[in-house]
Amino acid sequence: MTTIQVAGLHVRHRRTVALDSLDLCFGRGVHGLLGPNGAGKTSLIRVLATVAAPTGGRVRMLGEDIADPRGRTEVRRRLGYLPQDFGYYPGFTVREFVAYMAWLKEVPAAQIPAAVERAVARVGLAERIDAKLRTLSGGMVRRVGIAQAVVNDPAVLLLDEPTAGLDPEQRVEFRELLRELGASATVLVSTHLVEDVAAACTEVTLIAGGRLAYRGTPEALTALGAASDGVGDHPIERGYTAALRAHREVAAR
């Protein structure tokens, strides 16, 4: 079932085109969003997170048109978002910060305490739940960001570079969490780490120059890497570079 439908999406930042007539749809599962720097991944995520308004095109999420204020509010109620630059209040504890975010998402007051503890436990920070955010490491802060994103049990979860700052063990645990979340929600993960995509995603979307460059499964991308002369240490990395080169060749014609 499709939860996110993007049609003719166009995003422009002053003179720069970030997304150019993008058509996409996502359903339940974990979707990896790959692409080089400046490809438009963050622009897409910010539009889907209802933070930025598109210059053109339409976006429907969870059956609502996000251009409509009422529809946007309904989407936000069922949305989780971790921005690339995750801001937080250093004086708050983990519990206080996640509870504050739950309040902002209008999680019913009676459910907030349990929802907060559940979200914090899911990211493995139960032991540090009453620690001030200023005392946490960068990786832990990132996990707090994920906790606030999932505190409302979102139907759509948008994660922009979620594994930045996580150590290898935490990344493995995070992939497990992604798989768990993807069982019931549409999870869109923007990342540079293609091995995360290979391990946790059910589908891969590659964007380059604001356009769709490749869509398929991680297995298909891995197979593309095996069959082509892409650069990389891992088959899926070779698939990524091969798909990117192919897209650039087509775009150059």
Binding site: A49, F86, Y88, A99, L104
Partner: protein, 443 residues
């Protein structure tokens, strides 16, 4: 990663999600800053207001408006820029709750703490006056209204902090606020001065009952309009508080900053057992025993003397024909500090000179001046008399001659028999205030 389903949330978890905004972070610091600023501003000249309720009101009000409001503006402005500094803007944009609740969640704690900081400072000032109050009664409406004004200023500052992404926005806003308040408050004859939250009252006048609240409506209306213009989904809603603020402003300007006389300031409390009687303004009524005590030597020496004023009076304006003016106890901090007469001898001497009443005479005859000085010496000598005598003794031959003449006059008055002196003083006081030397009895 584990799950904690089924685990009972702790007490802290059940706490309101907004509690951290009130309990930690910048809001309590802003309140502490206001408290500290006002405490320092009030403490440095504490003797100039402590003990007088009107003086306490004036000083706390002036400090609250001229220092507290700019500080509240700056505190609000800094809090308003928090999301930009912390980079939480994107995250908050995805919130279900609208811009107004989000704004209030971060703005109200600062406004509340700023108001509490002021209330504590004003409360401490009232307590500091209470234990040494000299009469009158406290004016709690003004500090309460001031707290609301500071809260409104913090909200307004937060709007500016949200709208202006400039690092120096907070100090510049505070400076601009101070300049505007100073401009509005400086000239009370200016019609616009009524718009200043600084109420132009004196110790004997207080604002009419509605003035502080209309002033709050004026400032609060502006702040509310700014908040709604920034955050409301329907920005036209901002017109409602704006209309209220405009109506309040019109009322303030047309009424010209209305004040009324304090009834107690027009009354006196008197000790009628002495000659002359001693009357003190009822605002300082509790000083009467101290003043009567300080003047007891003077009044004791005047028993049975005729042609004296009926009383020492302490009202606004000049004394009546049968009255002498009581030496001033205000401004506080000079004759009276924290409810105590600081120099009773000096006070008694000043009262004695008020009885003689020739201070306004030009070119007074030296013999009359010598006689007046001898009477003052007899009634209540100046604490500086000895010092001036020593200076004269080291001065020119003329100074020394005048000193000797003065000392002879003092000795003659002191050497008189009691009935003789009483009769002489009665004759002398019949000429009190008379600049013509011919009628003044010589010594």
């Amino acid at each position: 990663m584990t799950t904690l389903l089924g685990r009972t949330p702790s007490t802290a978890a059940r706490a309101a999600p907004l509690r951290p905004e009130f309990r930690s972070g910048f809001a309590p610091l802003a309140g502490a800053a206001v408290l500290l600023t006002l405490a320092v501003a009030l403490a440095v000249p504490a003797e100039s207001w402590q003990g007088g309720w009107a003086e306490t009101r004036e000083h706390t009000h002036a400090a609250a408006v001229l220092l507290g409001i700019p500080l509240a503006l700056a505190a609000g402005c800094r809090q308003g820029g928090r999301e930009r500094r912390r980079g939480t803007g994107d995250l908050l944009e995805t919130a279900v709750r609208g811009a107004l609740p989000r704004f209030l969640a971060s703005a109200v704690p600062v406004a509340l703490w700023v108001a509490v900081g002021h209330l504590v400072a004003a409360g401490c000032a009232l307590l500091a006056t209470w234990y040494c109050a000299t009469g009158d009664s406290p004016y709690v409406v003004v500090p309460l209204a001031d707290s609301l004004l500071l809260g409104c200023a913090a909200l307004g500052g937060q709007v500016v902090g949200r709208a202006v992404s400039w690092r120096l926005a907070a100090p510049v806003l505070a400076t601009a606020g101070y300049a505007v308040l100073g401009f509005l408050s400086y000239d009370h004859d200016n019609a616009w001065s009524a718009l200043s939250p600084l109420i132009g009252t004196s110790a004997g006048r207080v604002p009419v009952w509605w003035q502080p609240w209309v002033s709050v409506a004026w400032v609060g209306g502006l702040a509310a309009a700014a908040v709604l213009a920034l955050t409301a989904r329907r920005r036209a809603l901002a017109l409602v508080p704006l209309v209220c603020a405009t109506a309040a402003a019109v009322l303030l300007v047309q009424s010209g900053g209305p004040t009324r006389p304090v009834p107690v300031a027009g009354r006196q409390v008197c000790d009628t057992s002495t000659t002359p009687q001693v009357c003190v303004n009822a605002r300082y009524g509790k000083l009467l025993p101290q003043i009567t005590g300080a003047l007891s030597g003077l009044t004791g020496r005047l028993e049975g003397v005729d042609n004296l004023p009926v009383r020492f009076e302490d009202r606004a304006g000049r004394p009546r024909a049968d009255e002498a003016e009581l030496p001033m106890v205000v401004p506080l901090g000079w004759s009276v500090v924290r409810g105590r007469l600081t120099e009773p001898e000096q006070y008694a001497w000043e009262a004695g000179t008020a009885l003689v009443g020739r201070a306004g005479c030009d070119g007074l005859d030296p013999a009359v001046a010598r006689t007046d000085a001898a009477v003052e010496h007899y009634l209540a000598p100046s604490p500086q008399e000895k010092h001036f005598d020593e200076l004269a003794a080291q001065g020119s031959p003329a100074d020394r001659a005048e000193l000797r003449a003065g000392q002879r006059a003092r000795a003659r008055l002191l050497g008189m028999a009691q009935d003789e002196r009483r009769a002489w003083l009665s004759e002398y006081f019949a000429t009190a205030g008379d600049c013509d030397p011919s009628g003044v009895p010589a010594l």
